[in-house]
């Protein structure tokens, strides 16, 4: 990953973002190789944003088939792609978003990819996976210093969960000019310019299996599952929905709403019992809001995840540590530390 200088064409194309995050960040993006697992509603938003940011390469992995439902929420598809593999179907439109990025597709299921497959990337972004796959891929990434982030949208609800391991980064802090000085005539003069200082920081991320324990004995230390101490209830909603996916091999569907509501309520009882969650705070009526991938919610969560990818790869700006939860009622988006 040598620092390759940007060409004039790249400098022109990325001008506005370079003015925000600086040329060093752009050069780090330029060297980044990203694996994106799942290009459905949320995945297509993430793909768009990181292609536009100017990474070196994007590999899109999805073994799904284009259905009518997919067509309706994915702007990277078109009518002709009905029935074909999703990753291949998005190729043309995705590439058009940024011809400078090397874009490749994978149509195999992620479970069939060997461990070493994941080690070649700078960062892996996963959507739509079971907790088993999330934990597996994260542990591979941990062993080879590959950053990892995952997320999902369920109706109006969305989350992202990152494992950037021991993440070192810096942020620019702008110091405002010290007070206007006054000359003895009383006329203000000589305000010095704003100065920017680089502040180095470090955050430790817990592995994904500390956040999504796959078995009972794995329940974790402080500020976490076991203890309800100030844990945002949306965390349990996330757990609940992932558990639904694990058990049913699919997400809750509006077409089988009554059945799925029943299943969701059962899982809710179990989670409330297991973690002593306040029942009033994890109410059943939220289930009316979690069906389907709502496109504007995908836009919000896809924006958040892509921004975290950019922060992770460029080692600049404070990233979300480690969970982001979007409130499905008022769209308040908060960071929650779980498992650390």
């Amino acid at each position: 990953m040598t620092e390759i200088e940007l060409s004039t064409a790249e400098a022109e194309l990325y001008d506005r973002q370079i003015r925000l995050w600086g040329i060093e960040s752009q050069e780090k993006l330029r060297a980044a190789n990203v694996l994106l697992i799942g290009v459905r509603g949320l995945g297509s938003e993430i793909a768009k944003n990181i292609l536009l940011s100017g990474i070196n390469s994007l590999t899109v992995l999805d073994n799904g088939i284009v259905t009518e439902e997919e067509l309706q929420k994915n702007f990277l598809l078109n009518q002709e792609s009905m029935g074909s593999n999703i990753a291949e179907a998005i190729l043309t439109k995705a590439q058009a978003l940024n011809p400078l990025v090397k874009l490749t597709t994978e149509t195999e299921p992620v479970s069939e990819k060997p461990d070493k497959y994941f080690q070649t990337f700078t960062i892996v972004v996963a959507t739509g996976l079971s907790s088993k796959q999330l934990v597996r891929i994260d542990s591979i990434c941990r062993n080879s210093n590959v950053q990892f982030i995952c997320g999902d949208v369920f109706g109006m609800f969305g989350y992202s969960l990152a494992d950037f391991q021991e993440h070192e980064f810096y942020e620019d802090q702008v110091k405002l000019p010290t007070k206007t000085k006054r000359t003895h005539e009383g006329k203000p003069t000589e305000t010095s310019e704003k100065t920017t200082v680089k502040i180095q920081r470090k955050l430790s991320y817990p592995p994904i299996d500390q956040v999504l324990p796959t078995s009972e004995k794995k329940i974790v230390k402080s500020g976490v599952p076991g203890k309800t101490k100030r844990c945002n209830e949306l965390y349990y909603l996330m757990r609940l929905l992932i558990q639904f996916r694990d058990q049913n091999n699919r997400d809750p569907s509006f077409n089988s709403k009554e059945d799925d509501l029943k299943k969701l309520k059962e899982i809710r009882e179990e989670i409330i019992h297991r973690y002593q969650v306040n029942e009033e705070k994890l109410r059943e009526d939220v289930f009316n809001l979690i069906f389907g991938e709502v496109v504007p919610v995908c836009a919000v969560v896809g924006g958040v995840i892509a921004q975290e990818v950019i922060k992770a790869v460029s080692h600049k700006e404070v990233p979300i540590h480690n969970l982001f939860l979007l409130n499905p009622y008022n769209f308040c988006g908060k960071e929650q530390i779980v498992g650390a």
Binding site: N49, F291, A299
Partner: protein, 622 residues
Amino acid sequence: MSPSTVPCVLTEKVREIIPTSKILVVGAGGIGCEILKNLALSGFADIEIIDLDTIDVSNLNRQFLFRKEHVGKSKAMVARESVLSYNPNISIKAYHDSVTTQEYGVNFFKRFKVVLNALDNRAARNHVNRMCLAADVPLIESGTAGYVGQVEFIKKGLTQCYECQPKPPQKTFPGCTIRNTPSEPVHCIVWGKHLFNQLFGEDDPDQDVSPDTADPEAAGSAGLNAAASETETGNVQRTSTRQWAQQSNYDAAKLFNKFFKDDIEYLLTMENLWKTRKPPKPLNWREAASHEGDADNSIDSVRATDMQVWPISKCAQVFASSIDILKEALSKKEFLVWDKDDKPALDFVTACANIRGHIFSIPQKSRFDVKSIAGNIIPAIATTNAMVAGLVVLMVFKVLAEDYENCNSIYVRQKSIHSNVVIAPDYHLIKANPKCYVCSPQPYVGVSVNVDVMTVKEFETEILKKTLNMIAPDAILDGKGVFVISSEEGETEANNDKKLSELGIVDGSILKVDDFLQNYNLTIGVNHYVAKEKDDPPYKVVADVDDLKPSVENGQQNGSTESSEEKHSKMEVDGNAGDDDDDLEIVDKPDEDDPQEGTSSKRRKLNPPEDEDDDLIMLDDP
């Protein structure tokens, strides 16, 4: 059109009306492209889009409906085609036009269920705000700047309007700071732009670049008196800079020596200016061209030419070469317009600003930085735009459900170690300001102006149009029935050059102003005012008469009433702040949302770490 694209989680009622709800998107830039996509994939099937802009290469990193081959084409038209390519079953009408023209009157706006602003400038935002108030159509206003953004719901009689809170004024610098005593790089850059306009642009007497002998700080300088009397008798100073440059055939060495040697030497004669300041050092052409101590920097990479500060010899060389190109361009036109994207124009300003910086011992800037400052570029990125546009359409769902009580403003913030909130909704709707000069029942504004100096035409352009954002105002002098200004061409032309007092507009006069297009009536109370200090503004417009008195708080905090404005101002330099980029929002609450304000102690108080309130964000909302 398959109705199943409507999100299944919405209520039956909303799902039913989405396909037939007519939506107007104003602006097809960064946020506009994202909004269009979200609408088209959420079952909206009757969309209109208006934008007067064309596509530029620097848009392509975020305005994802456009591609390289679209550069130069209409944003509205290309956005429409691009959306139709993945959803051909909906109706999108595109207008390549300015929303502020007569075609788009109140009846045009009345046709829409909701209007979505995705604009890049305050004037158009103000206008659409008034149109939506007049048509009584709900408006969702949005904007981003870098990592921050916001979404705001505006509905007549229910919330504040876009103009309820006075926006921070655009930053300007006193003329004598620019001409005599620059102390920051931005002063030199503004001076460079003024010099460009003096040499190649349209004549503007406010953009003089030569030493300002009327600087009150310089008064009493012995050398000045001698020099000033010389000026009065009519030496070279009398001819305009432009004429002189033409007579010199734009000879680079001559121009250089005048601006960087002779004028600086003249400034040195104003001794009082340099009692507390480091005096400037004049630089002549020959010295500059062979400036010592300059590293050889001949690598032609992006980094070297754009990101590094040029040595003085390179500045001199670029000064000369850009003048040659600009002179040639000028020979085909009456005048040139400064444009940050025009390379010779930017080169000229970069060279001039840095030579002047060198003379005044002010840090120099790279061309990249000069472009940011001179072009008022507010950086824009895809991710923030995506988040904001998502939140806009989620708010549309609430508006269609008439769930107005929950249409609180939402702020996208930059993550910091002090806060765990990235997307922050307000807790309640913000009520209208009862003194708002736009949405209150009897809009009133006080204008302080020198009635013996300002002409009717200046009043119309500077105050009614530029400051109060009217498009086609009519003005009548109350009580006397005198027609002062008419929007009908030719009707009041005879008044144009008259001073206000000649038409009987004096201290205490009341003007009834009416903008037919905006359906907006405003009463203006005139207050005769004479600027005392040289840097006093030529006129003042005050919505709340109490604001005329400096507020105690500001006085204590900053020691001057002006600095509260400075605190809020962004990188705006002169005049046209915000015209540059799409998506720009002058964020209403800079103390909360502007990362540049991050180190001020005031922000900490307003925006404490939110660890405490986790329990507030629960699932028990209505």
